[in-house]
């Protein structure tokens, strides 16, 4: 809402001109629970008469309903817009509010303080130029204060306002204020903030919010609103080189081919030479097309359509760059990741990585370390849990154009997406290329998979047996291998137990280790199929995500998932190796089916039920499948 101004009545056009040319500040309020973030924003809007009468009426009505004794305004309820938030008196998700003063237009994102909702804080912070970090004067700096400060720093927010709130609860003590200032400046010294403004205040009683407080004469800085109106956030964090991530190719007819996008940095004019990353093709800008006519120039943040002098192949995901200092390209990175999901991040598992304009399958090849937000120290770890921050190495299935996040927020950011649920499960910051993309290329050998398979007169395949321990996987795989061997086929069985004696003997049975174990066997199976073999993999492989990863690794049609379906009761009764008994007694931890999950395949190529079908018959059923699907034809 707008502030009241005499220009509105005197000269509306002048008012509108002035408004349009005012600069916009996007900021967030963050910090721990109960530090008074929502109250601060509610108070600011109220004091500056930025609320409508019916909003005020509605608030007063609510306060009467919630049994409040006086007509004090519940400021927080002005921003806590969800029913669940008002019921529980907490902020769950970020609320966006819009207001303006004589000097500036503002968008404020009021973000939640609970650690559980860190992803929503990050959502609000990711587009902010300034972060207001609230601190409860009585409680001082808490873990959430540090977590939010660190996330703000990671996001590249350069300007910070530290709002030391609830000063009324510490008798407006100058000493207490100084203590907190010292503590904050000590822990934040390496966070790269360009400016920090400390303001003592009481949002509830309105001290130092929109005017200087008389209760704290010792404070000589600006009040909260004055800081918002004057803070200079123009310090440019993104570099000035031209970056135009291509969003969509506009092909109206045979004669028009334009590239749509929003300029991430720099500027461009017709005639400017460009280079397309990752392809490396060059051309020059022919025209900057808009509905209002071609432009002489376009710059950062503008959404335009470019046509080029030459016909070159450009698609969504490419970045059009200036020829001076173009973006880099790579498929191997180090990156910082903030994890949002209840399901842990496991190195080796496959996810989708999305840059603003491209989606690429990715696997986290290693977790180098986690970051402890309490003292920002590095900690070793094998997984990332909800709200944890880690430094990881990533391997993408194809190269992308990028800049390090520190140099360009748009071309250096990514999100991670779960392949099954499509949820956004993490955010990431590209640090640098591991530079392997250009060094380690797949060696193309003279003799290929086709030649090797031909020599063996067979079609390679990976027969992937999955099922509980004791379900009969290995028994069936053995029988099948004998049959195939008798038919003159070249085979190999990769068995879970045997594999752990060698290639995976460094791994245990935690979820993280299971994921890595499956990654290794899948890669091994892939090499063997490349050698022309029919590979039989007999692994419990309890997680759908890893089996899907293995499937994607193989050539189309080569992966045959065989679900050996044996109910846990039956497998436990058999207990060939005595493992179930040991798991039940607690001697073995993380045992699939007992205290570790088994995710049954949803659409396996073959399903055998060992309760109704003897192992011999099951092996025959699989031979029949291979026959019908052409795997046993003699290839010459």
């Amino acid at each position: 809402m707008a502030y009241q101004d005499t220009l509105i009545t005197d000269d509306i056009s002048a008012y509108l001109d002035e408004r349009e040319n005012k600069n916009l500040l996007r900021f967030i309020t963050c910090g721990s629970v109960d530090d008074g973030k929502s109250t601060l924003i509610g108070r600011l809007l109220y004091d500056r008469k930025l609320l409508y009468e019916d909003q005020l009426d509605a608030i007063e009505k609510q306060n009467i309903n919630s049994g409040m004794q006086n007509r004090d305004i519940n400021f927080a309820s002005l921003v806590d817009g969800l029913a669940a938030e008002r019921e529980q008196g907490i902020t769950i998700d970020v609320a966006y509010r819009y207001f303006s003063t004589k000097k500036r237009n503002f968008i404020v994102a009021d973000t939640p303080g609970h650690e559980q909702y860190t992803r929503n804080m990050a959502t609000g912070a990711s587009n902010a130029d300034l972060a207001i970090i609230l601190i409860n004067a009585r409680k001082g700096i808490l873990e959430q204060t540090k977590r939010h400060s660190y996330i703000a720093s990671l996001l590249g927010i350069k300007h910070i306002g530290v709002a030391i709130n609830k000063m009324d609860l510490v008798d407006y003590s100058h000493d207490r204020f100084r203590e907190i200032v010292d503590a904050f400046s000590a822990f934040s010294k390496d966070m790269g903030f360009a400016s920090i403004q400390y303001t003592p205040m009481s949002a509830l009683s309105g001290e130092n919010i929109t005017a200087k407080s008389e209760k704290m004469p010792w404070y000589d800085g600006p009040c909260f609103l004055a800081h918002l109106e004057t803070v200079d956030t123009s310090t440019q964090t993104d570099h000035a080189s031209f970056r135009f991530p291509v969003q969509w190719v506009n092909r109206t007819d045979a004669n028009f081919r334009g590239y749509c996008g929003t300029i991430a940095s720099g500027q461009i004019q017709p005639g400017t030479e460009i280079i397309v990353i990752p392809s490396g093709q060059r051309s020059a800008v022919k025209e900057i097309v808009t509905i209002d006519g071609p432009l002489e120039m376009a710059a950062q943040f503008q959404s335009v359509t470019l046509t080029l002098e030459n016909e070159i192949d450009i698609s969504r995901g490419d970045i059009i760059c200036g020829i001076d200092n173009p973006a880099q390209q790579s498929d191997q990175f180090q990156a910082h990741i903030l994890w949002f999901s209840e399901k842990k991040l496991y190195p080796g598992r496959n996810y989708l990585l999305k840059t603003p304009n491209k989606i690429v399958p990715v696997s986290i090849t290693s977790l180098k370390h986690k970051i402890n937000v309490n003292d920002f120290s590095k900690r070793a770890g094998k997984t990332l849990s909800l709200n944890e921050i880690g430094v990881c190495n990533l391997s993408l299935s194809s190269p992308i154009a990028f800049d390090p996040y520190k140099l360009n927020k748009t071309t250096g950011n990514f999100i991670l997406i779960d392949r099954q649920s499509n949820e956004t499960i993490g955010m990431g910051f590209l640090d640098f290329s591991l530079r392997r993309a250009s060094n380690i290329v797949w060696q193309d050998l003279e003799i290929g998979k086709v030649q090797r398979a031909q020599q063996k007169h067979q079609k390679p395949a990976v027969l992937w047996f999955t099922g509980l321990s004791g379900s009969g996987k290995s028994t069936i795989a053995n029988l099948l291998e004998q049959k195939l061997h008798d038919m003159g086929r070249h085979t190999y069985v990769l068995d879970g137990d045997n594999f752990r004696h060698g290639l995976s003997k460094d791994l245990g049975f935690t979820n993280a280790d299971r994921v890595e174990n499956i990654r290794r066997v899948a890669e091994t199976a892939k090499l063997m199929s490349d050698a022309g073999l029919i590979v039989l993999v007999s692994f419990i492989s309890p997680f759908r995500a890893e089996r899907n990863m293995a499937r994607r690794l193989m050539d189309d049609g080569e992966f045959i998932e065989i679900y050996v379906n044996t109910p846990i009761e039956v497998a436990e009764q058999r207990d060939v190796k005595g493992l179930y008994a040991r798991a039940r007694s607690g001697e073995i931890k993380n045992f699939t089916g007992i205290d570790s999950e088994y995710q049954a395949p949803q659409t396996p190529e073959i399903e055998v039920s060992t309760t109704t079908l003897p192992a011999e018959k099951a092996a025959e059923q699989i031979v029949e499948y291979l026959n019908i699907n052409g795997f046993l034809e003699t290839h010459t």
Binding site: I92, T252, K409, I415
Partner: protein, 317 residues
């Protein structure tokens, strides 16, 4: 929109570029980016077109985003059968002039049962004709994304909603478990049956909308401008008599008054304001001097505190 280079001397000018976009230019660029992102990521988008000022702005932005192509998606109007006559006339004329594809959907069950605000009450009418009608239409054409013109400054639960807002197969919104939305990196992936509602005008305020309409000379229905129109006063609101389906209560008389509308919906559910504002600057001036918020003219919000949130959870826009 031309680029304003008068700001070169401003201390706020970023040193690295020679042009600074104005507030409205930034909003425009952001909305265009959002629309293109939907078209690039999704299979079968549709733009909800409700004929009001926000829809007019959204359509104007879509024309810009895909120029010289036409917007590569159809429009959808969920017609409750109770819209102002002038809205329907305006809609039909604009669609024809622009040569766009428009689907009009009216809930056939509601139509068969003659559901209307006078006979069934405002909330039943809105649920059947608007919310259910919308869900039917989305299912019928299997749209996986629908653009809506909602803004975050309209109402407190809208202030909480993502720009790309996920809906499950039942079209439900789960406000307590929204997808994180980082930077301008939007995740529009959905499984079959699930969908997205996308709000390109999320960051616009009511004043931005009016100022943009003024600057860009965007056509909007005449109902936004003051004129003498027949109204009755009912429940503290001025309701315009748009056709003879409106029964007058005892003691009510229709009077001609200079009125206009700040928001347009079903005529029996949309309160008018007394006004002499016949030009855009006058409307903007009046808006800035009033002290009630825009949605107050819509009767459906005031039923209960969480009203809009409840409706949104059910699949309302």
């Amino acid at each position: 929109m031309h680029i304003d280079t008068d700001l070169m001397s401003s201390p706020e000018t970023r040193q690295t570029s020679n042009v600074t976009l104005t507030h409205l230019q930034r909003l425009e660029a952001e909305s265009i980016y959002i629309m293109r992102e939907v078209v690039a990521q999704c299979k079968n988008p549709v733009m909800l077109y409700s004929v009001g000022k926000d829809s007019s702005v959204m359509l104007h932005l879509a024309l810009k985003a895909f120029f010289p192509a036409r917007p590569p998606f159809p429009l959808l109007h969920v017609d409750t059968g109770w819209k102002f006559k002038d809205m329907i006339a305006f809609r039909n004329r604009r669609i024809k002039e622009l040569g766009l594809e428009l689907h009009v959907h009216t809930n056939p069950n509601g139509l068969a049962q003659n559901v209307g605000p006078f006979t069934h009450g405002s909330s039943a009418h809105t649920d059947v004709m608007k919310t259910q009608g919308l869900k039917q239409a989305l299912d019928k054409y299997k749209f996986d994304v629908a653009f809506g013109g909602a803004r975050r400054d309209e109402e407190k639960s809208r202030a909480k909603e993502r720009i790309f807002s996920f809906r499950n197969a039942q079209h439900r919104w789960d406000p307590k478990n929204q997808r994180p939305e980082l930077w301008h990196n939007y995740n529009a992936r959905v499984a079959p049956g699930e969908s997205m509602r996308v709000f390109p005008l999320s960051n616009w305020t009511e004043l931005d909308i009016w100022q943009y309409i003024y600057k860009e000379s965007i056509e909007i229905p005449d109902l936004y401008f003051a004129a003498a129109r027949p109204v009755v006063e009912r429940g503290g609101q001025l309701i315009m008599i748009d056709d003879n389906r409106m029964p007058l209560n005892a003691g009510e008389t229709a009077r001609e008054k200079m009125i206009r509308f700040r928001t347009l919906g079903c005529y029996p559910l949309t309160g008018a304001v007394l006004s002499n504002a016949t030009t855009l600057p006058e409307i903007i001036q009046e808006m800035l001097l009033t002290t009630t918020s825009e949605r107050q003219g819509r009767l459906i919000d005031s039923d209960s505190n969480a009203s809009m949130e409840d409706k949104k959870q059910e699949g309302y826009f």
